[in-house]
């Protein structure tokens, strides 16, 4: 819990369902809103899933921004596919994408799928083996 910033706690507290659990390798804080919490304005951007943990000594932050709540297709965690997922490792962005089946893929694991953003982030930490992510020239 000591690793979680106050602003994140405030943000999460405002979003509804919050669960705090201790897991092997780090402390995690998970929150997920339900669809009834969706804003009426579909153009409004919101983070409706955020997650932060320290895993193998690396700070993982991930979530979804720009969610479009009228979208039909959702990930395994119920996140609309039109939303933009993000993952940061020690504050550096990991390029991730949502696959059509709701799984995730990242730039360091681009040929396989992971069920959750947490899974894809942890796999990246494992692969990085202590290295720092660099900005991608798109």
């Amino acid at each position: 819990m000591a690793d979680i910033r106050r602003r994140d706690l405030l943000k999460l507290a405002a979003t509804g369902v919050v669960a705090v659990t201790g897991v092997a390798g780090g402390t995690q804080l998970v929150t997920a809103t339900r669809s009834q919490a969706a804003p009426q304005d579909h153009n409004h951007s919101t983070a409706d899933e955020t997650f932060e943990e320290v895993y193998r000594g690396r700070r993982i932050e991930c979530g979804v921004s720009g969610a479009s709540h009228h979208h039909d297709r959702r990930t395994a965690l119920g996140v609309p596919l039109a939303a933009a997922p993000f993952v940061r490792i020690d504050e550096a962005e990991l390029h991730v994408m949502v696959n059509a089946d709701g799984s995730y893929t990242s730039v360091v694991n681009h040929y396989k799928s992971f069920r959750t953003l947490t899974d894809v982030a942890r796999a990246a930490v494992d692969d990085l083996n202590g290295a720092q992510l660099l900005p991608i020239r798109a």
Partner: protein
């Protein structure tokens, strides 16, 4: 017209010429532009938007054109060079000759995964990764480290037996069709699994940083050629009017002057031995 051979059949001189041409492209900066192009496409080819190089019907023609451009760059260095292919259904271990010090070099070492043997070892001074996702400038591999095994000949036969080229929704979720099975999002998983099996840089968006990328994709290109011969009545799909997808006569970025129809036959440029 050149002949693309199985890498296991190359002479020592052919291996040397191929490696030296690659090293020259790396030295003159041309090589890293291929790495950049590949990463640009794979990170923007998404299942629900415009997709050209991956998870879409044009996966095969896009890579055919991409490999052809690379082969022509090699031939500008040495006209005798052609791309070899790696048949991973046969050469399927970390001790296969493809990983020998006179060719691709070996597995990554324990600890940091750094390739320390062969012409592409960082210590050679000729292979520093500049287009990369992280701070490590050296080539990495972890052959078989994912716990997967390479696809088998039976896996390949089952995919080649699929009679339809591709199917809606024309992305990684297409439940049927040759393309999605050969790419590996469905079925026994051919192409994707090999990237993961090699591990290290090969499983990243910058996978051409590992020169074995070209040998792997040359074999994928050969499988498409084999499939075409096995199913002469099955053409490229879709043929027109499909959102976000390259239809048969649509131009493919980044070249914008070549369509899938233009590269359905490769015989003007090369044949497979």
């Amino acid at each position: 017209m050149g002949t693309r051979k199985n890498q296991r059949d190359l002479t020592a001189a052919e291996k040397r010429d191929f490696v030296n041409a690659i090293l020259e492209l790396k030295r003159n900066g041309h090589y890293d532009r291929f790495v950049q192009t590949h990463n640009h496409f794979i990170t923007s080819d998404t299942d629900d938007s415009v997709r050209v190089g991956h998870r879409s019907p044009s996966f095969l023609p896009w890579h055919r054109r991409f490999l052809l451009e690379f082969e022509q760059a090699l031939q500008a260095v040495n006209p005798a060079v052609t791309l070899p292919y790696w048949d991973w259904t046969v050469d399927r271990s970390a001790t296969s000759s493809v990983w020998a010090p006179d060719f691709m070099g070996g597995d990554g070492r324990a600890g940091d995964g750094q390739v320390t043997t062969g012409p592409f070892a960082y210590g050679s001074g000729n292979w520093t990764l500049t287009v990369r996702a992280d701070s490590r400038p050296y080539l990495r591999r972890q052959l078989g480290g994912s716990g997967d095994v390479l696809p088998t000949a039976a896996d390949v036969r089952s995919v080649l037996a699929i009679a339809t080229y591709d199917a809606a929704p024309w992305n990684s979720r297409a439940a049927t069709g040759f393309r999605n099975s050969v790419e590996g999002w469905r079925g026994p998983n051919l192409h994707n699994r090999v990237h993961v099996w090699v591990g290290g840089n090969m499983q990243t968006g910058m996978s051409p940083n590992d020169p074995v990328f070209w040998l792997h994709h040359c074999y994928i290109d050969k499988l498409w050629s084999d499939w075409q011969r096995a199913h002469p009545g099955s053409g490229y799909l879709p043929v027109g009017g499909t959102p976000d997808v390259v239809d048969l006569h649509d131009a493919m970025a980044p070249w914008n002057n070549v369509t899938p129809a233009d590269v359905l036959s490769h015989t003007a440029w090369y044949s497979y031995a």
